[in-house]
Symmetry: C2
DNA sequence: CTATGATGTTAGAATCATCTAACAAAATAT
DNA sequence: ATATTTTGTTAGATGATTCTAACATCATAG
């Protein structure tokens, strides 16, 4: 049995993992708001349970089992977010904190029902993919807006590290998933971008353009 | 701040309280599946927090503050049950365990939204009244079916101590809230009742008739 | 290539919710 | 009215999750 606390560590590991699947103790500690020594001891415990590969002074990695369990928590989180937005009428900036709580409900039927009522969605309201019941994730490789070039025409596909502040920033500018935009120019000094979309003109800082995932829109 | 554990104790006290508002340590212990010494120490803690009146060897009573907090937990539970049945399509016998988990979500907006989507219901799927946002409960005095007499015509209004087994028992006999029934006769030996409704004829044991609350239906 | 700062670990303590064993009070039955 | 059973309390221990203080290792900037 995986406790609520353990679920939170697994989810954080899953979300923080880089391409190599590695996470530092320090990062994890900051993400969870829990001191490093506590994290270390929890990692030892999760290693005992074969959920994490742990070696002193080495980066943390989820085992296959750990990845699956983590993905199932993420699944519950994202299904919940989707339900809150689609069926209950919440804004995409409001749902993270609520889903953070609902995700710990232990009832397979409950989440199966959410899934069914939503028509088995593949992505959550922020464009993040929803793992399937086996913890498998259909990865689609979007590009960061920040890595695009002047003249590119792209479509907003997902948002990363979604904070309520950033989502409100997007709401204020009327940007949502699917918004098609053209990159007018990029300021070499600080990487800020001039963008046009929907007859609007906005300038995005690098901080913003790094958090928007886009697809080519011809 | 009231912990999840404390919420469970408060809710159990609320549900078990007799007319005088009293609950024994032993009852509470059985209800929660927690040993008596643990209950005693939690009662001292809740007394510190002014949520319970506690005196050694005396029955337990919620304070006014405790009653309000307990009612707010019950409110969350019953709103959730209502939502699960009305908006998500669960059967009334399935929802208790799920609601038991969802009720601990800490988000006022979430439950306000449930309330709104449900049209501010006054009763849950089992006929139990839903406390308002101030913890106030519109008590309606139904009668137990077991206290009715031969010849009475009554309408099922609520179900008490709803266990999944009892609710399935009712489902199997096609009994739901609003079912109108006539008491044909009562067996003096064991209190079992012969009942007719919807062109059916059934015999109810005392155990069953004590758990159905009814209103006079002329 | 060492000094310094950042990162990670160990040791020990605190808090919460739980338990068992032993004792005490209250209720009940003879 | 005493013995027995039921109910309730005290004392002390356990496991989970967290902390702080002190120490160890790693990474890096001179």
């Amino acid at each position: 049995m995986i406790s609520l606390t353990e679920e939170n560590y697994l989810k954080a590991l899953f979300n923080l993992a880089n391409n190599a699947g590695e996470v530092n103790v320090n990062e994890l500690s900051k993400q969870l708001g829990i001191k490093m020594p506590t994290v270390t001891s929890m990692m030892k415990k999760l290693a005992e349970k074969k959920l994490v590969h742990y070696e002193s002074y080495k980066p943390l990695r989820l085992t296959e089992k750990g990845k699956k369990e983590a993905a199932l928590v993420v699944r519950k989180h994202r299904l919940t977010e989707m339900f809150l937005v689609d069926k209950m009428g919440f804004g995409w900036e409001e749902v993270h904190d609520i889903a953070e709580q609902v995700e710990h409900v232990r009832s397979t039927v409950f989440f199966d029902k959410l899934d069914e009522l939503l028509g088995f969605p593949k992505f959550d309201p922020h464009g993040a993919p929803i793992p399937d019941k086996n913890g498998k994730l259909a990865w689609i490789s979007y590009n960061k807006l920040s890595e695009c070039h002047a003249g590119d025409i792209v479509k907003v596909s997902a948002v990363i590290h979604t904070s309520a502040e950033f989502l409100k920033f997007l709401n204020n500018r009327n940007i949502r998933l699917g918004t098609k935009m053209k990159i007018k120019s990029i300021e070499p000094f600080d990487g800020s971008m001039d963008i046009t979309y929907d007859n609007r003109q906005e300038t995005f800082s690098l901080a913003a353009s790094e958090r928007l995932l886009v697809e080519n829109a011809k």
